[in-house]
Symmetry: C2
Subunit: 709 residues, 2 copies
């Protein structure tokens, strides 16, 4: 990667916390439970070898620290003499799955964050869980002063730009009754920066001068600026290690009470810091190495690898492992800047990553949806929306937002009487639960889950068939009926901010594909469970869906319309028509992908469609970037990654590497401010305009499986 200045999230697992760093200016810092960077100054500085009165800083600051004091012009001028920022050309960056390292002059700054499988809390020991769930990231600050003629001071700290939070800065060594046990600075009860080795002093002050100049360590802690400082003797090399500890105690949710699971072991940020102090040598070694072989040596291009790494960093930044008051684990992935909880149309996209890393979290989500966020409703007759017909079970769009758990059977997102954003996604969420469950079962062979949820699977089949049409004579295999809950509106799809090509659910080729894959998955699941009659219904529906979609292809062009059965035909072409081909592979239905099998015509038709749309002016931008819909400039990288896998690994469609290059350019564009948001999903005309700071990009894990299947 030639780019150096872009934000990346560096996060503990399940702490909904991030030490975000990389964009220039006061654009990173320590964020807890926020869907954006903390916008703090981060100070990483080394005293100059040639000018003792000057410090060279990495360029991660620039705003005034909130503070009680007002400064004179003389103060500011003095500070300016003290501070020099490294030139861009002096700085290199090495960004990997578990480390992010900046080098400039004699300074090396590195953040270590874990990419480890979380053991299942139902069976794992406390010690096993603690090593993975410690809500901290490690920082290493190395100085090479072997050529230096005098000792040089070095600092790692931050300036809070929130004038109220500022005041809560304090020294960890000063806790009443526990003096000098920890060395570092804290901010309120949620953050502690603790020194783990070396001779380090802590500083809190109003400005950089107060923290950098060699005064005694003060007892006072007024000011918005804090740092850990040390001095490296002439002729020596030193590596200082720190832990950035996050913590939130007590019940943290509303709607349904839950606390962080890590509070089983750590009651405060101080507890986290003490654990880090005791175990850091072992933990840093453990954390440096990702726990999955898949992630260690993928055969990817540099542009692919960059995106894989970046998506995983942003994913962990959204993870939040809670427990209910009875101790039941509650796994949450927050929806990036939107903070919606376990959005089900993201759960299915995250599933490839989670089955690789933590299959138990997938079951946790599936059970949570089944227990509290499912509902039964009727459907509306497509011939007359006022007539309600038999429907069946489905699942809500999400389980809440921003630590608020939405009421049983309801999302915070879905509202009646709409035909676009914020309408219901009833049919798609039904397919999402079916497909995610089936992938989970196929991956784990968890018979207990199948047996416990068998009647729900049967209800799912009945509901999916009714959402085609309750009258078997009128069924086409794809979704035709809107949910009763839509009121006077109509269902939408996960692509809520695109135009009708991917927005309208009924007769949509994308939803049609997910119905087809769901029937296939249910067929296998029910057959394995011995219910041949229902398996047969599922198979018939799959066949109908394939036939319906294949029959909608324009025989002259080989193109499938986004919305079927319109006259004149709908003009839009969509890449995600192929998306659902991924599921047979992960639900034990590889057979359905065979070109000479019962669905061969369907698979082949999608291959032709893809070949025809992957052209500039249709579903490619001029840069080579993928354009999910021919009629919208809003393209989503998470889905692009998934469809790239389908194209290469299932449809054997070679791709121009220009696409990956163009996608990296999107993500790292500093002029458009995209680089501020770490990984973002919705890119509209080159600008990250929605789904920023987002977890969904881990569909990129599929790229690691291309040679293995």
């Amino acid at each position: 990667m030639d780019k150096v200045f872009y934000n990346a999230q560096h996060s503990p697992i399940g702490a909904f916390a991030s030490f975000t760093l990389g964009e220039k200016g006061p654009k990173g810092g320590f964020g807890l439970e926020i869907g954006k960077p903390a916008d703090q100054n981060v100070y990483i500085a080394l005293q100059s070898a040639t000018e003792a009165g000057r410090f060279d800083f990495l360029p991660f600051f620039g705003a005034a620290d909130g503070s009680l004091a007002n400064y004179t012009a003389a103060d500011i001028a003095r500070q300016d003499n003290l501070v020099r920022t490294f030139e861009d050309e002096e700085i290199t960056r090495e960004y990997t799955l578990t480390t992010d390292t900046w080098r400039a002059g004699d300074l090396t700054f590195s953040i270590v964050s874990p990419v480890l499988s979380i053991p299942d809390p139902a069976t794992a020991s406390d010690a096993e869980l603690q090593d993975v769930l410690l809500p901290a990231v490690f920082v290493e600050l190395s100085v090479d002063n072997t050529k230096g003629k005098s000792a040089r001071r070095v600092a790692f700290g931050f300036g809070s730009t929130d004038s109220q939070k500022d005041y809560a800065l304090h020294y960890l060594r000063h806790h009443h009754g526990e003096l000098n046990v920890l060395n570092g600075v804290g901010q309120g009860r949620n953050l502690a920066l603790v020194a783990l080795n070396g001779k380090v002093g802590a500083r809190v002050g109003f400005d950089l001068e107060a923290i950098l100049l060699p005064n005694e360590e003060p007892t006072t802690s007024l000011g918005g600026c804090a740092a850990l400082v040390s001095s490296v003797p002439a002729g020596e090399k030193t590596t200082l290690r720190f832990a950035v500890c996050f913590h939130r105690e007590g019940i943290v949710t509303t709607g349904l009470d839950a606390s962080y699971l890590y509070t089983r072991w750590w009651k405060s940020a101080r507890d986290v810091a003490k654990y880090a102090l005791k175990h850091h040598e072992r933990l840093v070694d453990l954390w440096r190495v990702p726990s999955t072989a898949l992630l260690k040596s993928p055969k990817l291009t540099d542009d692919q690898l960059y995106q894989l790494v970046h998506t995983i960093h942003s994913y962990y930044g959204s993870t939040q492992l809670l427990q209910l008051v009875d101790g039941t684990p509650f796994w949450i992935v927050n929806e990036g800047e939107y903070r919606m909880i376990n959005t089900l149309d993201l759960v299915i996209d995250h599933c490839f990553f989670e089955l690789t890393m933590n299959p138990w979290t997938v079951k946790n989500n599936l059970d949570a949806y089944a227990n509290t966020h499912s509902y039964y409703d009727k459907v509306r007759d497509p011939a007359n929306a006022k007539v309600l017909l038999d429907g069946g079970v489905s699942f809500t769009h999400d389980m809440g937002v921003a630590n608020h758990i939405s009421p049983p059977g309801h999302s915070v997102y879905e509202r009646p009487d709409l035909t676009d954003c914020f309408s219901y996604m009833t049919c798609e969420q039904l397919t999402n639960w079916i497909l995610t469950s089936s992938m989970y079962v196929s991956h784990t062979q968890d018979k207990e889950f199948v047996s416990r949820r068998l009647s729900l699977f049967k209800d799912c089949l009945a509901s999916l068939a009714n959402r085609d049409h309750p009258d078997p004579q009128k069924r086409t295999g794809v979704m035709q009926c809107n949910a009763a809950r839509t009121g006077g509106g109509a269902e939408i799809t996960t692509y809520d901010s695109l135009d009708a090509s991917l927005g309208q659910a009924t007769e949509n080729a994308y939803i049609g594909g997910k119905c087809w894959a769901s029937y296939l998955a249910l067929e296998k699941l029910l057959a394995d469970a011995g219910d041949t009659s229902l398996a047969s219904l599922a198979r018939d529906q799959a066949a109908r869906a394939a036939a319906t979609i294949t029959g909608s292809v324009d025989p002259k062009t080989g193109l499938l319309p986004a919305i079927m059965h319109l006259d004149p035909p709908h003009p839009a072409r969509i890449i995600p028509a192929i998306e659902a081909l991924v599921y047979p592979r992960f639900t034990g239905r590889e057979d359905a992908l065979a070109e000479d099998g019962p669905y061969g015509a369907y698979v082949k038709a999608l291959g032709v469609h893809l070949h025809e749309v992957l052209k500039p002016g249709v579903c490619l931008f001029d840069s080579g970037a993928w354009k999910l819909s021919s009629t919208s400039t809003n393209s989503w990288l998470s889905k692009t990654y998934l469809c790239q896998y389908v194209a290469r690994a299932i449809l054997n469609t070679p791709q121009d590497p220009k696409a990956d290059r163009a996608h990296v350019e999107w993500l790292t564009d500093r002029e458009k401010n995209n680089s501020y948001w770490a990984w973002s999903d919705q890119i509209i005309d080159h600008i990250a305009q929605g789904s920023k700071y987002y977890p969904r990009g881990v569909t990129s894990i599929l790229w690691c499986m291309e040679s293995s299947k």
Copy 2:
């Protein structure tokens, strides 16, 4: 009061919370543990009687609510048609100690907050404490639709302008396992607005339209805008009542662990809301009437009464009643915008109010300082600062900042090697502890406290005498020696941001007066305890102090210099030279104020000094406002109030009511933004530039005691 638009804090007692309202625009709202208004939109609206499609709002909003959605021009135009703001002339306001009421058209909006004595937790029942400490304020919204031809909708709500906090809005009725128990909206775990009567619906949405238009109550809770809405039938009058409930659970401090005392009874904002729901009829009646006769019928001018009311509102906004982990109550008054904890030079000024309301909190502060925030140090020889001499005990400037308790024996404020702001206040804090203790003992006759602290009182006397000079031959009764802790600096006084006239502590006429009053108080206390020898030392020192100060008066002008013993004489004249005359009255030493007593010459000299300085160009601004120092334009209202009392009630100096008028004009100036900060202390050239949103103004309680002594 002719002014209508200024912020006032409306606060529970001891919850460090405020529903701030009154300044126009998005300048009020619900603040928890912040030293400033929350800057939210507050929506108080009534449907127009003449235009059904329009709502008339009080003018307390104006910023965009944080939100997930981006709006089209059409959305904004539609919203503009919906919203009309009452004209300034249509709005009246009635502001009392316990209520604040706005009237406009057919709408009346009132906030009820308590002014009650807190029973001593050591002896009071839970029920007694609960009625005073409920962390909530009540809101009443009345609509007179007797002349209306149709039902009119009415709303009370708010829009969060913090894009991250926004998302946490939710419906109280939707708690899993506790559905429909409460009706209202919450934000995270810290705030709940609950409806207590009437037929009220809750709304959360992206904009005003979503919360005002008569849709069904939604289940979704996305958006930054929330309200409680109702409808008043034609021909009817209705009063709706709500509670604004604040809550923070768990340990809330660092440095020394403590939680809110109210968590003994209420574990969450929901618990607070349930208590409010059950008891609101009784509580609102109880809260409307201040519990102290003194406050109910003071004989004050309107300008005085306005300031008394305003200072008490801001005082409660800074109060925070915590408990240590063993249940020991820990009374905190935060220092307004600075959030320093129990700043000792404020404790003494608050003492007149607290002895009237809650004497046990004074003891609580005194014991806390004695136990954890006192220290012993040497003093520096005034002839050679490098020589350390015997010193003695003193107390820290504060006990921490922003919920951080500073380490034992240290404040967060004081630093060595300074000669102005942030230097040590060792001598003044010693007098503050002595005088506050003595006022407490004089008011309560608490023999147990005296007996328990007798040796500390003796140490205080020894220390105070040594801070004059360790060599009895060199003593003058006033402070001459700086504390060793000042290093190469010098002690300052509470007036840290003024010039040397009130900044330098040694030889300062203001500090000299406090030394005099401290010796008098100790003389009585030690004599009452039977230690005639030490009492005699104290008396001698008091006599020396009086003689020294009296001897410093310029015999030609009758003026006392701010700093004594300088040649040529220091040019500054200060009103606070008279300040310490208040203490003999409150420490049982009224005898020392007699003009024919042993200190008669001193008292008379101060009377002459005051008469000479209370002139335009010396210690009066052109407006008639008081100017504490002739050489600084920074004047502090809290100290002005105190000195006004001394001038009238002790020195019998009549005052021009222009002063009070000018002080009210300062506080309510909207052009200078002073009115945003509720009550502020430091007014520099007409602008509230420091000590904003501040508790210290309750020295105004002294005005209520003028006729009674």
